[in-house]
Symmetry: C2
Subunit: 138 residues, 2 copies
DNA sequence: CCTTTAATTCGGAATCATTCCGATTACTTT
DNA sequence: AAAGTAATCGGAATGATTCCGAATTAAAGG
């Protein structure tokens, strides 16, 4: 998702165009990988020293709820990245060292044969973890 | 996994047979679903009032590392359950209301066609979230 | 059964990420 | 430019988890 597409969503829901949100969106657009909340804080403070934790966390949560950011969790740490363009549903390999991702174009839900008709399905998660070519040792 | 199988693992690694560990194992054996750390604390304090948080968290982490417990995360909460008998690899539907699970006998890794030969795969996660028949409304 | 020794637990303080809150600032519209 | 409201700030509060030194307990050997 581009910065402009993110702003389209934000403005549609009457969120204001602020300097801090622009800084956050530019950071995620540039990073193009999963980053921890701590990394966001460090990076964003470079552009706006003195930005409040509250502002960062509040916007991260809101971006995540609006689908601008994807959120996951690894070893107890929250990770965020710009959500992919929503053209077709897919999943990711995630590098545990750098947070980089690679698309996995299949969705396991298509292969589930168990009868879940009595169940209400709210969501699912499929992620592969490991080391990308750049981060693997040797 | 049974309580006895859990003790086999613990004793193999020279962990001692203590009252608190027995209480924890019995609780998980009985619960047979994902429970939060808070639920563990409340339940375990019934059997041993005055048990230290430290003891609970230390053993949860150790059980999890040894593969006695499965650990996942839902809405920022850590969830634990007794690991299934390790006879054949599978995944789970998890009820977001009660933590109950249902086995999904497929593994999406079998269907991944993307070339990951340059990647080192350390693990994967496939979970389906929703409401089980008992917890769905209406 | 008694002693020894090291693991385990206890209790409470410390940590750390995250959230809350009242006061201030900055968008957007008029 | 002024008004109205959302957003931010700064610092305090929260809450789960971990740390730490002292006390206790399980396992092994005599």
């Amino acid at each position: 998702m581009s910065i402009d597409e993110a702003w389209d969503i934000l403005l549609k829901y009457d969120y204001k165009r602020t300097k801090n949100r622009e800084i956050l969106l530019r950071f995620f657009d540039d990073a193009d990988r999963y980053v921890t909340a701590m990394e966001v804080r460090v990076a964003v403070e470079r552009d706006n020293p003195g930005i409040s934790f509250d502002t960062i966390y509040r916007n991260l949560a809101m971006f995540s709820k609006l689908g601008i950011l994807d959120e996951t969790e690894l070893n107890g740490e929250r990770l965020f990245r710009m959500q992919c363009a929503t053209d077709h549903h897919h999943h990711h390999f995630i590098c545990t060292a750098c947070g980089g991702t690679k698309s996995i174009p299949i969705c396991p839900m298509d292969s589930v044969t168990v009868n879940l008709s009595e169940y209400v399905i709210e969501g699912h998660k499929f992620e592969i973890y490991g080391r990308c070519p750049k981060c693997k040792v040797g």
